[in-house]
């Protein structure tokens, strides 16, 4: 299981939990699991999100591995100028 931190305004979709656990071994599986276990996150994830995995912001790469002890933070999809 992987612990995923949820940013504040999405916690209404996780029963107020700031951190949830999902079964996943990579970026894609984290997002799929979040959508499955917490359907309220689906629209936000479908619009585009990033994951910070052990401090590195990953925007799209599905097969980026996550470990059971990884720090995984759900983040908005990053855009710049």
């Amino acid at each position: 299981m992987v612990k995923v931190s949820i940013w504040g305004s999405l916690r209404s979709a996780t029963d107020g939990m700031a951190e949830v656990e999902v079964k996943a071994k990579n970026f894609r599986e984290v997002l799929e699991a979040l959508k499955r276990d917490y359907p309220g996150l689906g629209p936000e994830i479908d619009r585009g999100v990033s994951l910070a995995i052990d401090g590195v912001i990953i925007r799209e790469s599905w097969f980026t591995p996550v470990q059971a002890d990884s720090e995984v933070i759900l983040m908005p999809y990053m855009q710049g100028g």
């Binding site: 912001i57 855009q79 100028g81």
Partner: protein, 748 residues
Amino acid sequence: MALDEYQKRDFKIIGTRQPRPDGIDKVTGRALYGADITAPGMLYAAMLRAPHAHANIKSIDTSRAEAMSEVKAVVTAADFVQGLGDDTQDVIDACIARDKVLYDGHGVVAIAATSRAAARRALKLIQVEYEVLPHAVEIDDALAAGAPVIQAGRRGNKVPKGYNDNCTNWCEFGHGDLDAGFAKADKIISRSFRTAATHQGYIEPHACLASMGPDGQGDLWCCTQGQYFVRTLCAEIIGMEESRLRVTSSEIGGGFGGKTTVFIEPIALMLSKKAGRPVKMTMSRDEVFKATGPTVSSVTDVRIGMTRDGRITAGEAFLRYQGGAFPCLTIFPGAQSAFAVYDLSAVRTRAVNVMTNRPRQAAYRAPGAPMAIYAVESVVDELCQEFGLDPLEVRLLNAASKGTKSSYGPTFDDIGLLATLKAAKAHPHYTAPLGPNQGRGLSCGFWFNFGGNTSVSLNVNFDGTIGVTEGNPDIGGSRVSISMMAAEELGVPYDKVRTIVADTNSLGHNDVTDGSRVTFAVGLATIKAARAAIGEMCRRAARVWDIDEDAVIWEDGHAKPAGPNAGSHQPMSLAEIARQSPNTGGPISGHHEVNAEGAGVSFGVHLCDLEVDPETGFTTILRYTVFQDAGRAIHPDFVEGQMQGGAAQGIGWALNEEYIYGKDGRLQNAGFLDYRIPVASDLPKIDTVILEIPNPGHPYGVRGVGETSIVPPLAAISNAVSRTIGVRMQELPMSPPKILAAIKSAGN
């Protein structure tokens, strides 16, 4: 996930200052910008723009214009497919109004005619009947109870109760116990800050040439920060497959984020489609100001607690941004970055986006961060004054570093903030004496940076020269930097490499030139493309020598035999291998395609000395120094240029630049005479100190440098002015009347 791309090595070319390949073209006028492209039979486009901030369109009568023999096409919103996804629909709706106009200057009808004069005459013949509606151009007005609803049905589902239907997006970030944090503070200061909308101020107005053929294939030439994104947007808006639209980017006269979307390109394509002829469309400066995207304006409430020895115990901020008449996500990086430079155990940011009757905002260097960090850094400075503490020491005490849980969630790995702060402390600027009416301010800055989808092709020409093809417009010297990385990796002189920017059909996808991504991501792909070519060249040499390819190594631009069974062959140069390539297997090239992750966050520190004239409130910047972590400066000139450019734009933002609206909701200063960007005479020489803390996510350690530099100037200058006049300034720009009023209000 540990990043391990970086390998320490000695460089021969990286870090030198090579001549830019586009320099002569740009100073002689040979370079082709968006407006320089022409085609036989070309028509000229013009856009009728609304004279109201908010109005229903009751009717449009284009019959008299269409009766003109010179007019070949007329386009309204009715010509475009409706029901696109929200994001794309917003893009075209911002270009041309559907049922109502949403801001002063909103496009209503486009004409293509045989001359510019005829197009302008035709515009005057168009009759549009408007029903003028109440408007709201300021954040407070748009948030107020009873405010006119800019677009119905766009209220965000995350927006809390109590906010009206103009509120489209909401976010919250943070961690820790705020109450406990504030309880530990010896002093808590709460302030509210405002920043005006500012334009990116690129010198080249938007321009394009569109040519749609009767077979449904099209070509588009335009000035943009991302030809592939233009293709994606336009293909969806026009209703065509991407492969049938080729987009070629011109040289670009500045972008800074403002050319990461489209404003005229789909209109020109539709006009061309209807007319069956190429259509050229260019914006005037007035149109650029009125109908392209400035940055957001903001109101930010900040509350920070500090102990008397300078430790920040808690911080919170509430950001209200307006990004024009459409939903806008700039609140997210704003709220994430507000406290990112600090190591805090209790922090919270909340943010809401509110629609107003202004043009749809576009990205501007580190979008959302400068205004948020300005507010935070202003309060930190005031707390330092309150306790008589050195503001740089307080930053050192509280700075985020390796192991810090950032205010937006992730734990930082190796970052360069402490190093930049220490460099600032050691620099003679920090202790230089100040005169009467002079003050010094400092601020930290932060930006995320990212990589993104990238394709590079590298060709080894038969004569031993190298051609690199990449897909990002050169907005900051990227061609020279990419050529340098290719030359370094291949072991050939810099002048043997030429890098060009490809059109969308000549190379795989490349994301928009944003996020300070190009030197990082395209550089990474170039290095790996060069390594692929090296691998092939070693294989060719092995075949010539009739030895195993594993027995060939690459050193200093030569294939060399290595290992016990390799024999004693003379090293073979890249030029020799290239010349023999028709005989050894054909042309040699290397490619690399990647969605580059691991860009590495970036920090900067700015020091500013200035003088305020107490009689007029006029501010003169006396001395300015930028300290920034570049990871590895590929070409120091261009890194310094990015640092200086961001500082210059930030100085304009802090002191002069603002969108000014009249009571009628119309923009009052749509031109450079009244919208005052800094010119050379307004600025001192901006000194730079480049720090190099390698990014483990790049083979040479590169971090993006293009955006962080615009973040600190707002607070650095505001802090300097505040210390000089003895009044805490809370609004940008700090134009002379505002400073004078502040001086008088304090009785100074």
